[in-house]
Amino acid sequence: MVKSEKRIIFVAILFAAVFGTGTTASAMHIMEGYLPLGYCIAWGVLSVPFLVAGFIRIKKCLESNRRNITLLAMTGAFIFVISSLKIPSLTGSCSHMTGTGLGAILFGPAPVSLLGIIVLIFQAILLAHGGITTLGANTFSMAIAGPLMSYGIYKLCQKLKVNKLVSVFLAASAGDLFTYCVTSIQLALAHNSSDGVAAAAVKFLGVFAPTQLPLAVLEGILTVLIIMALETYGTQELMEIGFIKKEVNG
């Protein structure tokens, strides 16, 4: 069990990597130059408090125990991997997942905003995917709104005493979907000409949501898998950040 599970998980990651990188196309995120300057600034300003809060939280988290950096690095890496994989969807177009659910569940929404923006900057500069001008808006949707949703769903599930893995699944999927809802609204706010913001939002949602739905499920599954792996091998680290209660398992 010990060795085989580890192997299965790594094979799965490699498998996903091979499949994901086979198709090249840009997906999700608001493209460079597609938001008027005013909106770029507004979304950027709106994101700043979350980034600052994230920075403070991460600093505190590391001050309380240096070893928390392992899990923090892994959640960041998870976002790197997951958001680089472009997956074909049932609508015949490609999109990718966000990977921010894991961090939101483990560390809360604020630290994820900082981890998320690293990925967004990487993609905006090197991959012409997303953009520098739309960085604020994309940060808000992927690294702030999505994780907030994941965190909220996870906490709600905990209150309702839902099974832990089911909660993780629901939280990660909901966060992924919500990211696209926010992206649609952001696009609609800036581009709505005659028929109003709401109608425009529905139209944009019609493009993103059907593509994203299977991927949200996939993101849920992958997040559950990594949580299972961490619960098996990284029990100490999870206790350290309070994900697993000490008296129950230790």
Binding site: T70, F80, S83, K86
Partner: protein, 105 residues
Amino acid sequence: MGKNKKITIALLIAAALIIVVPLFALKGADFGGSDDAGSVMVEEVAGKYEPWFTPVLEQALGGELPGEIESLLFCVQTGIGVGIIAFCMGRFVERKHQESLRNKE
């Protein structure tokens, strides 16, 4: 533990199916990005829209990033992520192994 293993396998199969099924179900689809669909929709909703800023790298190169190079950079991104996760997981697994050895003594 047996239950965990079963869940893992079931989830992996489900994940693989989600990725593979569209490829075979929609033969001939071009699987373009939903980003592109998004920009088409922008024009449909709001009329012709000229992006007012071009990506920095495209500006520096004076054109679009070649497809192969783009996939290279995406692979680099994946590689960085997988490397960190694999390194940390490897340490965790070995640590647990060593602990169980110590407990046996």
